[in-house]
């Protein structure tokens, strides 16, 4: 099983798709970082904003907003097409003969998860480290321009996702939230790969459909019922209005379980 995972990760990294998507996310991150430097160049420490609130994934960040519009398409690119490439070139017969049917299919799911996780996590951790190095760590401002010990700010901060964790250690909390973001994206791409093993996608472009439809249905349900299920306010960091992060975490767990069942069906001898 380990060899199957290792060789499939190697195959994914050899193709262009992973590097193109990594490059795209890097562009957004670097532009945001340079923008922050130019904007807060001469700012005094007492008025400077907390370095973790200058990350790209913060909910009200301009470049994060643009990034989230392309998010349903960027999820598919790193490793979503791996089964289709394998079955077109017939390398899957070679790999099944070498590692066994179950090891191949389950290894494919795990390698997709790891590759997509890496494609999202590497640029975000780079920005995390760069922000810690360049901006002063004793800055405590907030983007809504309130005084740090103001009643309004404390009331707003109590609505963050896992508020006590943010209180005790802000940097570990931010890294943890970045990991949750990447985990949700990886869960979507694992679901896509398991759907592609069923053989229903005649053209590669139809792989974009399931994720887009799922996110759109959630937004439409939210609009009909009046709640806010938008994907770009619910999985980004530091949002103080009513949010439903547990909905997205729950959906990603359900998608992983569904994909395990699908792969169990395709790898069985009856199929």
């Amino acid at each position: 099983m380990r060899k199957s995972i290792g060789s499939q990760i190697h195959l994914c990294l050899d193709r262009n798709d992973f590097w193109i998507s990594l490059f795209l996310i890097f562009i957004f991150v670097v532009v945001n970082y340079v923008n922050n430097i130019l904007k807060y160049c001469d700012c005094d420490v007492s008025q400077m904003i907390h370095p973790m609130k200058l990350l790209m994934l913060e909910t009200h960040n301009k470049w994060g907003f643009y990034f989230m519009q392309f998010f349903p398409f960027i999820i598919v690119f790193p490793a979503g097409f791996s089964y289709i490439y394998d079955s077109n070139r017939k390398t899957h017969t070679f790999l099944i003969a070498r590692y066994g049917v179950r090891n191949y299919y389950y290894g494919k799911l795990i390698s997709t998860f790891i590759v997509t996780f890496l494609a999202f996590m590497i640029p975000f951790s780079l920005e995390f480290v760069l922000n810690i190095l360049t901006f002063p760590l004793n800055a405590n401002g907030d983007l809504s321009n309130t005084i740090p010990f103001d009643e309004e700010y404390i009331h707003m901060a109590k609505n963050y996702f896992m508020y006590k964790f943010w209180n005790s250690s802000p940097y570990v909390y931010t890294f943890f939230c970045l990991m949750i973001f990447s985990l949700i994206a990886s869960a979507f791409s694992v679901f896509l790969v398991s759907l592609s093993t069923l053989g229903i996608f005649k053209f590669r472009v139809l792989m974009f459909l399931p994720v887009y439809i799922l996110l759109y249905i959630l937004t439409a349900i939210g609009r009909v019922t009046g709640l806010n299920f938008n994907y770009y306010t619910n999985i980004c960091l530091f949002e103080s209005s009513v949010r439903f992060e547990y909905l997205y975490i729950g959906i990603s767990l359900v998608l992983i379980i569904i994909s395990l069942f699908i792969v169990r069906y395709t790898s069985s001898e009856v199929h």
Partner: protein, 275 residues
Amino acid sequence: MKFIKYIFLGIIFGVIFGLSYLGENQSDIILLNDIVLKLSFDEFILCKSNAAYYDKIFLYLVPMLIFQLLSGTEIYSHFCTGSIYYFSRCTNKKIWTIKESAKVAVYALVNTTAILVSFILLNYIAGKEIVFSFGAICIAGYYILIFSLWNLFFSIIINMISLKFKSHFSFSIAAGLEILFSLEYVALQDVLYKVYDHEKLAVTLIKLNPFSMLCIQWHSSKNSRINELIDIFDISFDINMTIIILFIMVSIAELLCVGIIQKIDLLSSNKESEE
């Protein structure tokens, strides 16, 4: 027949929009021009910080993207498997290309009409009364024309680019372009909100953006019965000019497509499964 698939797609989206409109609207009388303007992005307001309104654009842009995704493989599918056998019976490839594009045009028309009609029927069945007027029927005709031409243009472009690169690449370019054009309104929000004062830079930026062709409320018309329902900025952005520009764009894309299909090599057997 194939266009049942596109009618079904239009009905689904018309029902979704109709349900959300029913939930929001309390009165019993609905004007037809309200419905048509809502389907053409009138909920998006150009103000100083309009990023919060962006999800209105996203909600109404998705049916067009999904239509382009599905119809972007209509012409391309004939080149995927057994293309030599298919084209050995085809004497003139230029006329074949034009016939296939005409089929895609019919699908686009049918899809847009289905969205509008199912929206109206859903509200009618729910017991509301719908008011027709001459201006509203003209605006509905403009809506169907503009949106079908836009969808047709991008379908032809996606088919054309997929012949050279793969289908996922061409769709991401087309969808990326559409989303980029719509993001320009948020990116330049500090300049664009001055259009209410008729400032020159703001007016030119709005007229140059291709996405403005889809917002009917920002256009103006020479006919006064139509003009009183649209034209909220009072800039002279003629709606007939938009339709002529879209026709020209579609014909240029069609000519390019004919030119590329003439030169394609049929001996490479399956384009979609190549690396």
